[in-house]
Amino acid sequence: MDRDLRKKLYRQMVQIRHFEEKCAELYAGAQIGGFLHLYIGEEAIAVGAINALKPDDDVVTHYRDHGHALAKGLEVGPVMAELCGRATGVCKGRGGSMHVADVSKKMWGGYAIVGGHLPVATGLAHAHAFAKDGLVTTCFFGDAASDIGEFHEAMNFAALWKLPIVFVCENNLYGMGVPIAMNTAQQQIVQKAKAYGMPGERVDGMDVEVMHAAMTKAATHARKGKGPYFLEAMTYRFRGHSMADPELYRDKAEVEEWKKKDPIHAYRALLIKEKVFTKAQADALDQEVLAEIEAAAKFALDSPFPDESTLFDDIYTPAGGR
């Protein structure tokens, strides 16, 4: 893999990690409200997969969406401002943590009704098929979303109409606090896709280059008009489901075991070993990212709350608008 790309993948994972840690701090300080779901531990999936896409390809994701947004190229400041409910947020403070979007980057948002975004993503893929523009849609969701009806309705449509979509299941082994074995009869989630005649594979979601390679293959398949592709990325969230989660349902030893597979630590060691950068360069990069995140938090907290006169804006499209 190209050295610059490897550095980019590493940097984005570090950026997401530090971003999420800052979010936890701001949440504790009541600057971020509502529910906050951190992506820590799962960074390799979004970074590996999204970097294998074209800039104009769509991304649609679930409520644990900060990582996908940053990997799609959204700037940290306006994303942090959105989480803090500020006017400068990417959605003007209307969406919050679970609904981060920037249409100019083809990041169509996080969605917080489990499974509900799969049909919408399938529709975006339909628009590409209709326009014959050669673009693809990628839809991320969790393992527990594969149990709900809308998952199956989307699978059926995508396969039946051979739509250009890649489904990426982030299998972190828990649906909130319930282990996968107690949630779903078929724990090899990729088998559910195979029931619809869809090609797919289970991959190591803790390895960013594995994710990049898998997505390259999957997106190429979809782009060629061969229909949808399914990736089941095995992963683990290092933090609770949300900030409100005391994690009583899982063994500390299990968490520690997975932390040994930390996608960032492993990749950092690999890139130093393969002389992509030195340890000193990696440390400098970490510091640079930390400073960027601090600046983003400052930008967010210095930003005004939405003007109260805008409350009713954007319920409907203004005349002549789109």
Binding site: P119, G149, G321
Partner: protein
């Protein structure tokens, strides 16, 4: 002016809009070669082909979600859901997704789509004979219309297809065969204005969809008694054109609201409340209500007939407040 059926008026609207805009397409169950459950789409498949007149599987959430995403991606979908009872299967997509697309992401995009569906009854029993326009009219972000005449059906459907936001376009199974004057060629009827279907100075009858006809019949009977009833067809339920109703009540000082559906928690209650709020000083009697019986609809013809308001019910309500 040509006299055609409500069904033919709808078909003309779709056909003309599809000819004018190559991005308009229609999906739904049995709409292609079959020609539509209520034969609205008959002949469209032959003219526009399988990419633009597309049979969909029996998965209403999938249909609405796919239409929403495709609309976000640049097409102009018309999603036909055979019966409003079946829209309940898609209500997550309608309420949590289509209706939220613009506001929740800060006005970044719209979902220009029409959900065409049908209300009605006819010895179909409890799950196939319900009215749910109030459920959708409750939701900011949706437009909800229910045309009663062939003229309004064509003009409002054309307006709905061109509208930049999601429109719930609710037809009625008892109206498809009704005839009326409809101009050839292009015209639109606004999606936010009630229509005075008959003028009168003594009492205001407020109705929509299937109830317009019995109200007009009642007005004719009342005219024989020397009572001039004004009949207002709401046509649009969100936004609700209260101004037309209030102006009428200020003239007549008496008002009866007539609806097919259950009396409690419905659109009729909302209209009655607004009349009380905005025209209290002009009222000479409490606002009258005529509504369906609050039972799950029975199958037997005689029992079903008891549930649906008729001309006699309307006359009784009017006479009780004269």
């Amino acid at each position: 002016m040509p006299v055609i059926t409500y069904r033919e008026a709808l078909r003309q609207a779709i056909q003309e809009e599809m000819r004018a805009d190559p991005k308009v397409w229609i999906l739904g169950q049995n709409i292609a070669a079959y020609g539509g459950t209520y034969a609205v789409t008959k002949g469209l498949f032959e003219e526009f082909g399988p990419e633009r007149v597309r049979d969909a599987p029996i998965e209403e959430a999938g249909i609405v979600g796919l239409a929403t995403g495709s609309a976000m991606g640049g097409t102009r979908p018309i999603a036909e859901i055979m019966s409003i009872n079946f829209t309940l299967v898609a209500i997550d997509q309608i309420v949590n997704h289509a209706a939220k697309m613009r506001y929740m992401f800060g006005g970044q995009w719209s979902a220009p789509m029409v959900i065409r569906t049908s209300s009605g009854y006819g010895m179909l029993a409890a799950t196939h004979s319900q009215t749910f326009e109030n459920w959708y009219a409750y939701v900011p972000g949706l437009r909800v219309v229910m045309p009663a005449t062939p003229y309004d059906a064509k003009g409002m459907l054309k307006a709905a297809i061109r509208d930049p936001d999601p429109v719930m376009f609710i037809e009625h199974s008892n109206l498809y065969g009704q005839k009326g004057e409809v101009p050839d060629g292009d015209y639109v009827v606004p999606l936010d204005q009630a229509d005075v279907k008959r003028e009168g100075a003594d009492v205001t009858l407020v109705c929509w969809s299937s109830m317009v006809k019995p109200c007009l019949q009642a007005a004719e009977t009342l005219a024989g008694d020397g009572v001039a009833a004004e009949v207002i067809d709401m046509r649009a339920l969100r936004p609700l054109d209260t101004a037309t109703v209030i102006a009428s009540v200020k003239k007549t000082s008496r008002c009866v609201v007539v609806e097919e559906g259950w009396r409690s928690m419905g659109v009729g209650a909302e209209i009655a409340a607004r009349v009380s709020e905005e025209a209290f000083d002009w009222l000479d009697a409490p606002v009258g209500r005529v509504a369906g019986k609050e039972v799950p609809m029975p199958y037997a013809k005689n029992l079903e007939k008891l549930c649906i308001p008729n001309e006699q019910d309307i006359l009784a309500a009017v006479r009780s407040i004269l």
